[in-house]
């Protein structure tokens, strides 16, 4: 407990807020746990830094039995579904399902060990000065362009609106494959969003950007844009075409089919001996 307290004191709150995946320099023994925490867990969790996407993990080893932690980390949803009251309560509180992590028992124990140490020997340090910069309308505009894909990511990753939507006048019809991001900034805060963009904890997103990571500048711009979207959401009134979009699509289809029918009306549809074949007796 004293170590935890110590950690809380030694790691300045602000720094912890901005903690991200910066490669931890850790003593050899604790390297794996520290590394994994820094690159994966830190996207959503802090150790003594307060709630981010998920709960603050300080003292988690004391709060929950080790067995339970192993199960939860491997598959939180399985636990929720099994009706475990603690898991259900956590899910109800945080609303974001924690992704499954295919780590071995010993790997998980190492991470937990690292947490127990309070992040000592590799605690995520406040990274990138960029994150501390104040955002400018320039950044917001760049973020919008990146989000929509009008500006390509430097490493050629897919544009955000392939899967996500944001309620914003400038954005038309983003994807519906993943979460709607209008209020994500409010929910997770800048560092959380930034952490997720740097090292997505979601398997699909991770796959998509694994070999095409976003640059720091890009992340900053996107965070700025999402912040802007969150703050100004009340004033945004993007047009909702609703059913009209569907009906106009249908009308277009009918029009095109009619056009094709007209264009190829002299098409040879039947074989020349169609009449003969039609009256032939068929075996059944």
């Amino acid at each position: 407990m004293s170590r935890l307290l110590l950690a809380r004191l030694t790691v300045p709150a602000l720094a912890a807020l901005f903690a991200v995946w910066s490669p931890p320099v850790a003593p050899a023994g604790a390297a794996t746990g520290a590394e994994t925490f820094g690159s994966v867990c830190a996207a959503c969790h802090t150790i003594g830094g307060g709630k981010r996407v998920g709960p603050d993990l300080a003292g988690v080893n004391d709060r929950r039995p080790a067995e339970w932690l192993l199960k939860f980390i491997r598959s939180s949803q399985a636990l929720v579904e099994s009706g475990d009251p603690v898991a259900v309560a956590l899910f109800a509180e945080h609303k974001v399902a924690m992704p499954d992590f295919p780590y071995s028992d010993s790997e998980i124990r190492e991470i937990l060990e690292f947490v127990k140490r309070g992040g000592a020997g590799g605690a995520a340090q406040p990274p990138a000065a960029a994150a501390l910069r104040t955002t400018t309308p320039e950044d917001v505009r760049k973020g919008l362009e990146l989000f929509q894909g009008t500006l390509r990511f430097a490493n050629r990753g897919p544009a955000c609106n392939s899967c996500h939507h944001v309620n914003n006048d400038a954005v038309i019809g983003g994807g519906i494959l993943a979460k709607e991001l209008t209020t994500v900034f409010g929910q997770m805060g800048g560092p959380g969003v930034q952490a997720i963009l740097g090292k997505p904890p979601f398997p699909v997103m991770d796959q998509a950007f694994a070999s095409r990571p976003l640059t720091e500048d890009e992340i900053f711009a996107l965070v700025a844009f999402l912040q802007d979207a969150d703050q100004h959401q009340q004033f945004q009134k993007p047009r909702d075409y609703g059913f009209k979009l569907f009906t106009s699509g249908l009308a277009g289809l009918v029009f095109l089919l009619a056009l094709y029918g007209l264009f190829w009306r002299r098409r040879k549809v039947h074989p020349v001996n169609h009449a003969i074949f039609a009256r032939q007796v068929r075996t059944q």
Partner: protein, 517 residues
């Protein structure tokens, strides 16, 4: 003058017995493959009939070949730059597999393997495309079996020009006749297939004019299938490439006749080089219908003419090819004797396969003769016919029978001369004249006077008549097939620099030897 050489063919229709040996020879060599089962690069049709694919001659259906435009030029009827581009993903005039026929085999194994039962096992027809049992609706020569039915013979597109009375007369029982029309790719001088190909995959070989589809370049647009009015470009649904008759070029390069010609039982086929003036192609292809045949023949030039020879040499035609052109049986039939005609010249592709139109079966006259004396002189056991009518095929009234041939001139003209009955009649008269001449010589029941008169009428000399007879009836392989040496070494040198291979591994390795080099 731009003299080039072209391998051309002549089919003598009076000699075809409709045995389909040619088709089978071709199929066994080239189209016995998946996706090509329905393709008959060589097929033999029964005329009158609708042919294969059904009603192929009707370009209102298939839109093949060329048509004259308003400025006297020619345009492809159903393909070409504009129409081709508009219809590139959706070809509206495309023959379907039912127009050819669904290829099938029989379930022979069932005959041997069927379990014991009350009924005799049968071999059901099975589709070669789906593998399912099918009802056979059509075959590559359906007309042969169903020629007399109103659905087939009477739907021959060539009958359209005939008056209803003429048409009826053709199908009277006593007059009913048919002939065979073997067809291969014509290796045209103005090929619609080549002109239509959006990928530029089809080309006409420079040295002998054989039209080929490059299988690596073909992109399955299938424009050639539409554009060839003879429907001799086929689409292989399995390989996704179009294919056509290659005139057995690997055999030709080895000095052998194409398989269909080599195997032809009726010996109806001739192959030889024709020299033509490429500058006249345009005039020939865009001539008015009435002049089509004449322009077509004008294009073919005399291989003995000094000027022609010089021009050919200047164009790089090898001397051996010029020599082959001089010995060519096709030059004789087509140009010298003017006995052969192109099939459907009105499609304007300038086909290089010519047909000697069918004279047979000749119409005989029946007349009463006084043969009492003759009968009395016979031995008593000999069979004596009670009547005294003579079924006379020697034709007392000479040309009368040509006008009354079994196939109305108009019908033959629709096939072979774009409606010019004169061109067909002239050829039939020559054939008749040679017949009469030979009858005078061998049977002896025609007077010399008549023989001389028919020869004079048709402008033949006795020597020419004899030569026609010899090439028609007696010619051996080497006279029927005069194949120029291929000179592949020259073609090869045009494609690659032989110095590249010099000093390396001899003739080269197809596969590197296992022991290494």
């Amino acid at each position: 003058m731009d003299i080039r050489a072209q391998i051309s063919m002549v089919f003598h229709l009076d000699k075809c017995i409709g045995c389909h040996t040619c088709s089978v020879a071709c199929k066994n060599i080239w189209t016995d493959r998946k996706g090509a089962e329905y393709q008959w690069w060589n097929n033999v049709e029964t005329k009158p009939g609708t042919g294969y694919p059904g009603r192929w001659e009707d370009q209102e259906i298939y839109k093949g070949g060329w048509q004259r435009d308003t400025n006297g030029g020619i345009q492809l009827k159903g393909a070409g730059k504009k129409k081709g581009l508009i219809n590139i993903f959706h070809n509206p005039n495309f023959p379907t597999v039912e127009d050819y026929y669904e290829p099938f085999t029989y379930d022979y194994l069932n005959l041997v393997e069927a379990p014991a039962g009350d009924d005799q096992p049968t071999a059901r027809p099975v589709s070669l495309i789906t593998g399912e049992p099918i009802d056979v609706k059509m075959g590559p020569n359906w007309d042969d079996d169903l020629g007399g039915t109103p659905d087939y013979a009477r739907n021959d597109p060539n009958l359209e020009k005939l008056s209803p009375a003429e048409r009826e007369a053709m199908f009277q029982l006593e007059r009913m006749a048919f002939f065979y029309l073997p067809r291969i790719c014509n290796h045209c001088l103005n090929p619609g297939c080549v002109a239509s190909c959006p990928s530029g995959a089809i080309y006409k070989r420079g040295e002998d004019g054989i039209v080929l589809i490059n299988q690596k370049v073909c992109r399955a647009w299938r424009m050639c299938v539409t554009a060839c009015p003879y429907k001799k470009a086929y689409y292989n649904w399995y390989t996704g490439k179009s294919e056509k008759c290659i005139l057995c070029y690997p055999r030709l390069e080895a000095g052998l006749a194409p398989a269909c010609m080599h195997s032809c039982v009726g010996r109806i086929r001739y192959i030889g080089v024709l020299l033509y003036d490429a500058e006249r192609i345009q005039a020939a292809a865009s001539a008015a219908d009435a002049d089509l045949v004449a322009r077509h023949l004008d294009m073919l030039v005399d291989p003995f003419d000094e000027e022609v020879i010089a021009a050919a040499q200047k164009n790089g035609v090898p001397d051996s090819t010029i020599k082959a052109a001089q010995d060519s049986p096709t030059y004789r039939f087509v140009k010298e004797w003017r006995l052969a005609l192109p099939l459907h010249p009105e499609f304007r592709t300038l086909p290089m396969l010519f047909y000697v139109p069918p004279l047979l079966p000749v119409v005989a006259s029946v007349r009463e003769v006084a043969d009492e004396q003759k009968k009395k002189s016979l031995n008593e056991i000999s069979k004596v016919w009670p009547d005294n009518w003579l079924y006379d095929t020697s034709t007392e009234e000479l040309w009368g029978t040509v006008e009354q041939v079994r196939f109305p001139l108009q019908y033959l003209a629709s096939l072979f001369s774009a409606g010019d009955t004169g061109a067909v009649a002239a050829r039939l008269k020559k054939l008749m004249a040679v017949r009469i001449f030979r009858r005078f010589k061998t049977v002896g029941d025609v007077s010399e006077e008549i023989m001389t008169k028919v020869l004079a009428d048709t402008g033949l000399t006795q020597e020419t008549a004899e030569a026609i007879f010899r090439l028609t009836a007696l010619a051996k392989f080497n006279e029927r097939f005069v194949i120029p040496p291929a000179h592949r070494e020259q073609a090869l040198e045009m494609l690659e620099f032989t110095g590249d291979a010099r000093g390396s591994t001899g003739f080269g390795f197809r596969e590197r030897p296992a022991r290494g080099l």
